[in-house]
């Protein structure tokens, strides 16, 4: 038994010698008391001392019984047996007292009736003590059945004896003295007691049961008592008096033994258990706090005190009250929520301890059922750290522009970062738990087989890269370079796979664009050289045809020269446009008024329209904001568009062109809008509009609109086209205005 093992050595003094000494001391005291009483008035009043000592014994025996009776449930069967047995003995004892010769209640001829009762009591006691010492009685008897039989059996027996005294052998015959029967009975009792002592001798060394110490002493006293009572000759002898005093001592020790067994022993055990439990609780790494119904702190173990930063032995001895308050503050939130009997186990509470340090505690609540609560505190530092680590990892992964996808060893997706879910337009929660091949189908991976490839051992995350195209559920095409690699734990067991991808879609388009630009730059250089080489001879051709025109007298020759001049101009126009397209110059942007620009062109335009017989309407927006623009280039764009409008509307019945400026506050733009009522633009034409060298005109280079688009784009603007066949076309040049003046 673990509890017993905790008992201190100090209590371990139960050795027979010491007990014998104790018994002798008790007997000596009894002897002294008997001597004092004997020499005093006891002798004068015959029978009184006997009645008094006997009653004392009965009271002690009854007290013993009452104590045992009240602690019946927690007592060992032996102790209960002792208590009940002594009730029986007390009954006999009572009869013995009543029918002792001094009181004169005896029926005639049976002067020794009291002695016969006494012998019954003695035998009962001896047997009971022997049975108790041998611990034969191991079963718990029903309390009331035991009490009933222990009381009624001796009572009935005593009454029977009272009625028929003869059934018991005579023990004392007046004038003859003690009979052999008494001697035999005495001897028998003494032998029983000696056997009892022998049996107890083994037990007293056993630290297990305290009781035996006192029972041993009491039996030793009993033996002496028996011997002395067996020896007395006269009712008035001193030995008889001594015997009765020592008998009282015997009962006292028995009483003491039972009390220590029934009351002190369990209490001691309880105390030991408590000490033991305290030690266990204080040794636990879990903090324990108990609170009563009113949330007053009842107890806190060492771990709880440590967690809350309370050090009793340290310099920072804080008052108990402060600790109590701190403890309450930690469980306060949980208490409020606990009203609904929810399971709050494992809730993490963040708090500050008494030393001002931040602590994270995992708190669990346990209801004792009596309104008291126990709170279990565990350091949640590690959990918190893990949680933080996970959060950090997720944050880092989400901050990456790379696409990250993690799978378990069964190729189920266990993690994906934000970049991935955004690139593929699939919410993270949809991806998690998905099989990789399912994911591959979902995003139309062009190289699904790689995702299912069996990895070679020692494949690093960067070793195998593959490029694949994907189509997101929204229908966007994505080009991604993926590194696909297995993940191993430190035992080099395969635990999953990782996919790290780089979205190269934009990069590819950019590359394409760059390549295009490079091509164009080369083309521009070539064009510039070519144009120069064309323009130089063209200068000569044009110049000489002019000279011929002036000098010839022949009309036909003059006409030819004129044609040559016009055609030369035409060539010049083409190569100039081509140069402008192939080698555009960056616009020289200045904040300007679009209204003023259009106004400055109006005079020149009106004369042109007048010659062509087309109506021109110019509308200037009353509201405007300055626009960053290159005057020459925007003029060129407007001129080009107006020229297109003239060409388009020339076949109309009442050709009309509207040129207007507009303020678009919503989109923060200024617009120049050129609309005509010409033939419009067919859908097929619309597709090709702005493509270099695409033209619908008989004499067009197909570069005009291309250049316009290019210029407007360089102004961060755009050209909107709205056209309907047979109704007309509207070209809107949209240019962002300057927001702040």
């Amino acid at each position: 038994m673990f509890i017993t093992s905790l008992r201190s050595q100090e209590e371990d003094i139960f050795i027979a010698g010491k007990l014998a000494a104790h018994s002798i001391l008790a007997l000596a005291v009894s002897f002294a008391v008997a001597t004092v009483l004997w020499s005093g008035w006891w002798q004068a009043v015959p029978g009184l001392w006997h009645t008094v000592t006997e009653l004392l014994c009965i009271i002690i025996a009854l007290s013993l019984f009452i104590i045992v009776c009240h602690t019946y449930e927690i007592n060992s069967p032996t102790v209960n047996f002792l208590g009940l047995g002594f009730l029986t003995a007390a009954v006999f004892q009572l009869f013995h007292t009543l029918y002792s010769p001094e009181l004169g209640f005896n029926p005639k001829g049976y002067l020794d009736l009291g002695t016969r009762y006494w012998m019954c009591a003695r035998l009962t006691q001896a047997f009971i003590l022997l049975i108790a010492a041998l611990k034969i009685f191991r079963r718990q008897v029903n309390k009331w059945a035991g009490v009933g039989s222990a009381f009624i059996v001796p009572l009935l027996f005593s009454l029977v004896i009272l009625k028929y005294p003869g059934i018991l052998p005579a023990l004392y015959i007046e004038g003859y003295g003690a009979t052999p029967a008494k001697a035999y009975a005495e001897l028998f009792v003494i032998i029983l007691s000696l056997i009892t002592l022998f049996a107890l001798g083994k037990d007293v060394k056993n630290r297990d049961v305290l009781t035996y110490k006192y029972i041993f002493i009491s039996v030793m006293i009993a033996v002496t008592t028996d011997i002395s009572l067996a020896l007395y000759e006269s009712k008035l002898s001193f030995i008889r008096a001594f015997g009765h005093v020592s008998k009282t001592a015997f009962f006292l020790y028995l009483f003491r033994g039972t009390v220590s067994s029934a009351i002190r022993y369990p209490y001691k055990e309880l105390e030991n258990a408590h000490t033991y439990l305290s030690k266990i609780l204080n040794g636990l790494p879990i903090g324990l706090l108990t609170f009563d119904y009113d949330r007053n702190l009842i107890s806190a173990n060492t771990a709880a005190q440590k967690m809350l930063g309370y050090t009793r032995d340290g310099q920072t001895g804080l008052p108990e009250e402060e600790f109590s308050k701190k403890a309450y503050s930690i469980i306060k939130d949980l208490t409020a929520k606990n009203s609904g009997n929810q399971d709050l186990s494992g809730k993490i509470v963040k708090a500050e301890n008494l030393q001002g340090e931040n602590i994270n505690l995992r708190v669990s609540v346990q209801n004792f059922g009596d309104g008291n609560y126990m709170y279990l505190l565990a350091e949640a530092k590690r959990e918190q750290e893990l949680e933080n680590l996970q959060l950090q990892t997720q944050t880092v992964l989400n901050a990456l522009t790379n696409l990250v996808l993690m799978m378990d060893k069964n190729r189920k997706i266990i993690m994906c970062n934000k970049a991935l879910s955004e690139t593929f337009h699939i919410p993270e929660k949809d991806v998690l738990g998905m099989d990789i091949s399912e994911f591959g189908d979902m995003v139309n991976c062009s190289r699904r087989e790689i995702l299912l490839r069996r990895p070679k051992p020692n494949d690093g995350p960067r070793e195998k890269a593959f490029e694949a195209s994907f189509i997101t559920p929204l229908g966007e095409k994505r080009e991604v370079v993926f590194h696909f690699a297995p993940v191993y734990n430190i035992e080099t067991e395969l635990i999953g796979y990782i996919c790290i991808g780089v979205d190269v879609t934009t990069m590819k388009t950019e590359q394409e664009k760059l390549r295009q630009q490079e091509k164009l730059a080369v083309l521009g250089q070539m064009a510039a050289g070519l144009v120069h080489e064309i323009k130089n001879p063209l200068t000569a051709i044009r110049g000489f045809s002019q000279i011929i025109k002036n000098e010839t007298l022949d009309d036909r020759i003059r006409q030819y020269a004129d044609i040559m001049e016009t055609e030369a101009d035409c060539v010049n126009g083409v190569v100039s446009d081509f140069l402008a397209f192939a080698k555009p110059r960056p616009p020289a942007l200045r904040p300007l008024s679009l209204n003023r620009l259009v106004n400055s062109m109006s005079l020149m335009l009106e004369s042109q329209f007048f010659i062509k017989g087309i109506k021109l309407k110019i509308e200037i927006s009353p509201e405007e904001k300055p626009v960053m623009l290159d005057e020459d280039q925007i003029k060129q764009v407007i001129l080009n568009m107006v020229r297109n409008a003239i060409d388009a509307s020339s076949d109309a019945k009442e050709p009309q062109v509207v040129l207007k400026t507009e303020y678009k506050g919503d989109s923060e733009e200024m617009a120049v809008i050129i609309s005509d009522n010409g033939r419009g633009i067919s859908p097929e034409e619309m597709v090709n509009i702005g493509t270099p060298f695409y033209t619908t005109k008989d004499k067009g280079t197909g570069l005009g609109l291309s250049i316009c688009f290019q210029i407007v784009k360089q102004h961060s603007g755009r050209i909107d086209i709205d056209a309907r066949i047979g109704v007309g076309s509207t070209f809107s040049i949209m240019l962002p205005y300057i927001r702040h003046n």
Partner: protein, 125 residues
């Protein structure tokens, strides 16, 4: 007047066009030749192409200005590129015209330049 152009056709055209107007026209097919003519003939005005093999227009202009910075220069260019023109302006050209040009237009440009600097020429004479 000195005409500098690597293109024979252009040189001949300008010769014809300005001789008719009564100018004494000298011709040069390259920058080096032009420099020699500047030194030997001392022209009042030079019509010079911007792009020539060997020494290009700008370099030639630079050298000419070293020899005589009072010579009037009209640049002819096929590019119409602003930065080259502005650089040439800094080196002291008086006017520029883009190829292919109208002969009459060139004549009037030359006349305008000469008239503007008439006083200075007279003083020099």
């Amino acid at each position: 007047m000195l005409v500098v152009d690597d293109q024979m056709g252009v040189r001949r055209l300008l010769y014809e066009a300005f001789k008719e107007e009564g100018y004494k026209v000298e011709l040069a097919g390259s920058g080096l030749e032009a420099l020699e003519k500047v030194k030997s003939e001392m022209p009042d005005i030079i019509l010079m192409d911007m792009k020539m093999p060997g020494m290009n227009g700008l370099e030639t202009l630079h050298e000419i200005k070293k020899v005589n910075d009072s010579i009037l220069v009209v640049m002819m260019t096929a590019y119409g590129e602003l930065e080259i023109i502005s650089e040439a302006m800094k080196l002291g050209i008086n006017e520029y015209i883009t190829k292919p040009f109208d002969i009459n237009e060139l004549r009037s440009v030359v006349k305008k330049v000469l008239d503007k600097n008439l006083n200075r020429l007279k003083i020099k004479a």
